[in-house]
Amino acid sequence: MVEISTWRNKVGLAEQLKGGVIMDVTNAEQAKIAEEAGAVAVMALERVPADIRAQGGVARMSDPQMIKEIMATVTIPVMAKARIGHFAEAQVLEALGVDFVDESEVLTPADDRYHIDKHAFKVPFVCGCRDLGEALRRIGEGAAMIRTKGEAGSGNIVEAVRHMRTVMSDMRRIQSMRQDELMMVAKEMGAPYDLVVYVHQHGKLPVPNFSAGGVAIPADAALMMQLGAEAVFVGSGIFKSSDPARRAKAMVDATTYYDRPDMIAEISAGLGEPMRGLEMSAIPEEQRLAPRGW
């Protein structure tokens, strides 16, 4: 029997992207640079997070025309972002034929209580998280890939590290628990019980776990991979640097050879200026993106 767009097809695509770099691009020309550098996928969006942060206003789904141009330019998967809870934007992205939808805190949330029912779609979804409870809620709703949020557009890795460490240590804690303690931890985390049991048995999420938000230099990618990320999203870090083509290639190489410091040293040499970045204390609480999502 032939079945289209099964759960295994959705998670399977996420598995195919492991060990790679997914790059934010705002036009076809940038998408071509990303593909040439060896990106495993591109995220099509009108403004990179650093510009969304600088310009303010409501950030929405991108213009379908721009997404279509990018899809026509590259052969690698194309992802696009929908606002949290905005299932009509997600329907439009599915109709366009994008390969992955990111229900993203980088855009202005459309719903302050509910996320999208992602099981209802043929297209797979990726969602952000700051801890294991949030990750398992999103998987329960149908996300086929998780990314720790970090703080998008900051060029600062500290939040990405915090979120990845939190998820990994939450998982180690659950793995070491007794079976009879799992229901209470599910209640406390606000996570589906069956997914808590999965983590207890396997010591990992049932879908791939990538890292996002703040990766700016090759050593940042290596750090996140060593902390347990299975792939890396790079947003503003590439096209806000002085030499995007070289930096993009260096990010790809560093994500593959993340455990070889001698090679990271070579890969990192002479790349020009990275994006400038922000101290977390310079970002007012109400302008932080990571707390969006419930």
Binding site: I4, G12, E15, A39, D99
Partner: protein, 198 residues
């Protein structure tokens, strides 16, 4: 006989292939340097992005050492991306490749991700129930040379083929619990090693 399988670990679903080899009764390790490649008896090129893996093979000097494996009596099994990289011809593409398998492939041949699917495939030489085949943004083969053996087809196109020491699948046997296709590859590697040792 004990053989060691390498899984090319530049990018893609490496862990799933290592687990699949173990389910089939073999032993596998990730490979991303020439030194690691030299230790294995056969190589799996996993699913991933073919443009990414091709560029990394090129940049890190692995293209020629991998190309030389079949002549050294070390078989290669490519799944999805691996099939694309093994192919001599890739429609509408100049991307870097190994170019060992005498076929022409079409990338993303079944459509985009929303068209990805799974189905039961009868496979020549595999006994019992058909194999559940998971196709993800998959390629298919549009032309095969006479010496290439077609083991399975769907939609009228070959999706599992063998040529000498090369095995290539358009789908992902590593994503199901069925070990039979990995067993088929292990048999090829064991046979090749016996011939090398003789």
């Amino acid at each position: 006989m004990s053989v060691l399988i390498g899984v090319l670990a530049l990018q893609g679903d490496v862990r799933e292939h290592i687990a699949a080899v173990e389910r089939a009764g073999g032993q596998a390790v990730p490979v991303k340097t020439r030194e690691e490649l030299a230790r294995v008896d056969g190589l799996i090129i996993p699913g991933g992005e073919s443009t990414t893996v091709g560029k990394l093979l090129d940049r890190f000097g692995l293209m020629d050492p991998v190309r030389a494996l079949p002549q050294e009596g070390k078989p290669i099994f490519g799944t999805c991306t691996g099939m694309i990289l093994l192919a001599k011809e890739i429609e509408q593409s100049e991307q870097p490749r190994l170019g060992l398998l005498d076929v022409t492939v079409r990338r993303n041949a079944f459509g985009r991700q929303v068209d990805s699917f799974e189905e039961d495939l009868p496979i020549a030489g595999i006994e019992g129930a058909p194999v559940r085949a998971v196709f993800i943004r998959a390629p298919y083969i549009t032309h095969v040379a006479p010496e290439v053996e077609v083991l399975a087809e769907t939609h009228g196109h070959p999706v599992l083929v063998r040529e000498g020491a090369l095995l290539a699948a358009a789908f992902h046997p590593e994503l199901t619990d069925d070990p039979r296709i990995h067993r088929l590859f292990l048999d090829m590697v064991e046979h090749a090693k016996a011939q090398r040792d003789a």
